[in-house]
């Protein structure tokens, strides 16, 4: 019974965490049209930074190296992790968002992700290199005497509450003037600019808010599993979040949640039960990545709006020519971008 409870708890926690990731990416891509190709790096930064603030000093001579080790109480350490994630989002956005073409941001995010991945792995003084951090103290784990099961229940409730607040914030943002401006930037940045809005600032805000969301998810991830190494944040992981967002329906937070349920939970859990072949230990993860990649491409071809499409305000529209029938106004962005 305890085993089942703990399994259900694990799945629920991951579902909540993936919801936060996907909603964060939704704010960046779904609302504002920002291509963040290294979502998972922001998760890792949030996780690592919160961990080194919460962990005690590294024991010299133990072969485990990490910076800081301040033994801060978890809420403060978590805050630092989230801030670090937002700060990295600010830096990456500042480098790349001043140009209108979205490829530049995609390139810079990918480059920053590759670079930080290599640095975190090769430079083992900061976050213990390829071995990664482990034995990260769990939030509030020392205050009361939890049994493992009651701790699981506690963590489910805590991550569920954090997720609920995050989603409520994202929904509120969607309807707010800032959210409307974000969606307007996605549709046509030039028009927004001509109305006197600072599109750079709007895009920066979306970038940072999204990264803060992903950072929160990262903080919760390492707090729950108490360990993280670079193998846990490869570019394939980024794609799980992208797949969740695109399958569920970009621009719609309920779509994001449905997507993370379908992709991150159902699909990932289902492939876990495929028979392992001992001579090919990487076969199942490789096949999972291939399916995720194919799934994203297939969704973009057959149903680019996702399962739960964004409900857009509809205005009286003139009938379009039959030849040009974009499924979404995001499509028009390409033509305006090319025309520049």
């Amino acid at each position: 019974m305890d085993l089942i409870l703990s399994y259900v708890a694990t799945i629920l926690v991951f579902f909540f965490i993936y919801n936060i990731f996907t909603v964060g990416l939704n704010i960046q891509f779904g609302y504002t049209g920002i291509l963040n190709f290294t979502v998972i790096t922001f998760m890792a930064v949030g996780a690592y930074v919160s961990a080194v603030f919460a962990m005690p000093k590294a024991v010299p001579g133990s072969g485990v190296y990490y910076v800081l080790g301040l033994s801060w109480p978890w809420p403060l350490a978590a805050l630092m992790g989230v801030l670090a994630s937002g700060l990295l989002g600010f830096i990456v956005g500042f480098i790349a968002l001043r140009r209108l073409r979205s490829d530049y941001l995609a390139i810079v995010t990918l480059a920053a992700g590759t670079l930080l991945y290599g640095l975190a792995g090769n430079y083992n003084k900061a976050f213990d290199g390829w071995a990664g951090l482990f034995n990260v103290p769990q939030p509030f784990g020392s205050i009361t005497n939890w049994t493992p099961t009651s701790y699981d229940v506690f963590f489910v409730v805590m991550s569920g509450l954090i997720m609920a607040v995050a989603v409520a914030f994202a929904n509120r943002l969607y309807k707010s003037p800032l959210g409307r401006a974000m969606r307007a930037v996605r549709e046509d940045a030039d028009v927004v600019e001509s109305f006197g809005k600072n599109t750079f600032k709007i895009r920066m805000l979306a970038m940072v808010i999204g990264c803060v969301f992903v950072g929160i998810g990262g903080v919760l991830t390492i707090a729950y599993i108490t360990a993280l190494s670079p193998a846990g944040w490869t570019s394939g992981e980024t794609f799980v979040v992208w797949a969740a967002l695109l399958v569920g329906g970009r621009g719609n937070n309920w779509g994001s949640i449905l997507g993370s349920l379908l992709v991150a939970v159902v699909f990932n859990e289902a492939t876990r039960y495929l028979p392992q072949m001992p001579q090919y230990p990487n076969l199942i993860p490789d096949i999972r990545n291939i399916i995720i990649g194919v799934l994203v491409i297939a969704v973009l071809w057959f149903r680019p709006q996702g399962v739960l499409p964004e409900r857009k305000a509809s205005f009286l529209e003139l009938p379009r020519k039959a030849s040009s029938n974009p499924t979404s106004s995001i499509d028009l962005a390409f033509e305006t971008e090319v025309a520049k």
């Binding site: 073409r101 390139i107 570019s235 291939i290 491409i297 499509d331 028009l332 520049k340």
Partner: protein, 291 residues
């Protein structure tokens, strides 16, 4: 001083490797106007196809390279023909193309990993002892790499300037609509562009593998953002810009390897990319309408 000249020598080799890759990426970007994030995976395809032809099928190494490189070119054409081009025609969106190529890189990388495993591979060739050339010293394979890159650059140049195909490609790069109404068969030109991009990617992958001696399926993707750095430094979509960018990045990487730390050569490339995006995002040689 001796050390500095030696670093320049290595820099020229790295620049040659990088030039092949960068020109391939830039050529395709110029004509189709979207970035191919699966390009890193294409480099790996070139490396491993050549390895298969050489080690598994026991072809002579030169013939194996030709087969591997042509195979990569054909794969690139197939990808364009059956995946990317239909997407461009169905959904005119830059977003879609970037996500699709990103997804494609995930698929290709993992297919390679299933086929070849994650371990390191080597080509069955001897490295050869270093030859002294004035202040520089190169191994034989390094000299061949420089030679191959120079020949490829001249061929690309001649193709772009002297042939009808090259002129059509430049026309499409400048203005696709105008090119289409001027009677250029844009689909055929796109096909040939992908062929060339794939061939250069395959060739770049092979020379990268020769230069690094051992390679794995992730080697191509590890190179991808260095290529982006070179391409953006030179001016995205600009062939000569890509050559210039490759030269500068290659030299900067190897000089920093000698004088700072060889572990941080990629970080130098990233730093250049960042500085360039901050002060002159259009690149050294700016293309109108591309940045």
């Amino acid at each position: 001083m001796q050390l500095f000249l030696q670093a320049i020598g290595f820099g020229l080799v790295t620049a040659s490797v990088l030039a092949l890759m960068s020109v391939g990426l830039s050529l395709q970007f110029g004509v189709t106007n979207y970035v191919n994030f699966a390009y890193g995976a294409l480099l790996s395809v070139g490396m491993f196809l050549t390895w298969t032809f050489s080690v598994t099928l026991h072809l002579p190494f030169l013939l194996a390279i030709v087969c591997g490189v042509l195979g990569t070119g054909i794969l690139a054409v197939l990808i364009s023909e059956f995946l990317l081009d239909p997407f461009v025609r169905r959904r005119k969106s830059l977003f879609y193309m970037l996500i699709v190529t990103f997804g494609l890189s995930l698929v290709l990388d993992n297919v390679l990993q299933i086929a070849y495993g994650v371990g390191f591979k080597q080509y069955p060739i001897a490295q050869g002892s270093p030859l002294k050339l004035g202040p520089f010293s190169f191994t034989k394979s390094q000299l061949i790499i420089i030679g191959v890159a120079l020949v490829a650059m001249v061929v690309v140049r001649l193709l772009l300037e002297k042939t009808n195909l090259g002129k059509s490609m430049r026309a499409m790069s400048d203005n696709p609509e105008l090119a289409a109404i001027s009677g250029i068969d844009t689909r055929t030109v796109t096909r040939w562009t992908w062929m060339m991009s794939g061939i250069l990617a395959g060739l770049g992958g092979v020379v990268l593998a020769i230069n690094d001696v051992s390679f794995q399926t992730a080697s191509g993707d590890a190179m991808l953002f260095v290529i982006f750095a070179a391409v953006i430094l030179g001016g995205i979509g600009q062939i000569y810009g890509a050559m210039l960018g490759a030269l500068l990045i290659g030299l900067a990487m190897e000089i920093s390897a000698v004088f700072i730390n060889s572990a941080y050569t990629q970080d130098i490339a990233f730093l250049i990319l960042v500085v360039m995006l901050l002060i002159r995002p259009q690149g050294l040689i700016a293309a109108r309408g591309k940045a």
